[in-house]
């Protein structure tokens, strides 16, 4: 029993904040993927509303309550209403033979790899307890 626990140590028990953050971040990330990957424009708008709600939750978790309320008021109410109206007013044009995406996917993925690399560097430097102020100076 001890050997098994030494070989496969249990992950550290998340604190309450972490236990709230992880499902919230997963929800936000999945909704953000749906916004750009789902072929149906209306599903995109619904997933965008989900992402904005998730970001509002992230603000609340960061103790920026005023921003969370502002996010829900401005984004989830106003902007989602605008986008839904624009979709319904220009409906029928994009459901056809033409493909939903253009030929710039390679360029886009290049840019995303760069952004992901920067995020990964952030993660690693924070993991290895590097002092950020030294890196900046």
């Amino acid at each position: 029993m001890d050997i098994i626990q030494q070989l496969f140590p249990l992950p550290p028990i998340p604190t309450l904040q972490q236990a709230v953050f992880i499902p919230l971040a997963l929800f936000t990330a999945v909704c953000a993927l749906l916004v750009v990957l789902s072929p149906n424009l209306f599903h995109n708008a619904l997933a965008l509303v989900g992402t904005l709600f998730g970001v509002a939750g992230i603000y609340a978790l960061l103790e920026a309550e005023f921003l969370a309320i502002s996010q829900i008021l401005v984004y989830v109410w106003s902007i989602s209403t605008l986008i839904t109206f624009a979709i319904m007013l220009s409906r029928g044009m994009m459901f056809g033979a033409t493909s939903k995406t253009n030929k710039q996917a390679g360029t886009a993925i290049d840019g995303i790899v760069v952004i992901g690399f920067i995020g990964w560097c952030n993660f690693v430097s924070a993991r290895s307890k590097l002092d950020v102020s030294i890196a900046v100076a």
Partner: protein
């Protein structure tokens, strides 16, 4: 306490999704949605760095800096204005040209 890097990874992911959508989609409304996603990723970064910076004055024990939140608020306001103007443009172009495809919006090409 959630580590700062978790927020940064989430923000980078949301920003990347928005960048992909803004560069790749053909529909103008989908491109606008990608831009909204990018602005949200930036906002997560701003608020996370605000929260994890030294916002407490050691002497008076009061919150002294709110610049991250103010920046995020500015971004929200600008995004609202941008969405209103952009969607109005899209509707206007749709009335004139009967399309919302970015490939056919070449009125200014001469």
């Amino acid at each position: 306490m959630v580590p700062l890097s978790w927020y940064l990874v989430l923000a980078a992911f949301v920003f990347s999704c928005g960048l992909y959508g803004a560069l790749v989609r053909r529909n103008a409304i989908a491109v606008l949605m990608g831009i909204e996603l990018m602005l949200n990723g930036v906002n997560i970064n701003l608020v996370a760095f605000w929260r994890y910076g030294d916002i407490i004055d050691k002497a008076t024990q009061q919150v002294v800096r709110l610049d991250g939140q103010i920046f995020a608020l500015f971004v929200i306001a600008v995004a609202a204005a941008e969405a209103a103007v952009g969607l109005a443009l899209i509707i206007s172009i749709y009335r004139n040209r009967k399309t919302v495809s970015l490939d056919q919006m070449d009125l200014l090409k001469g």
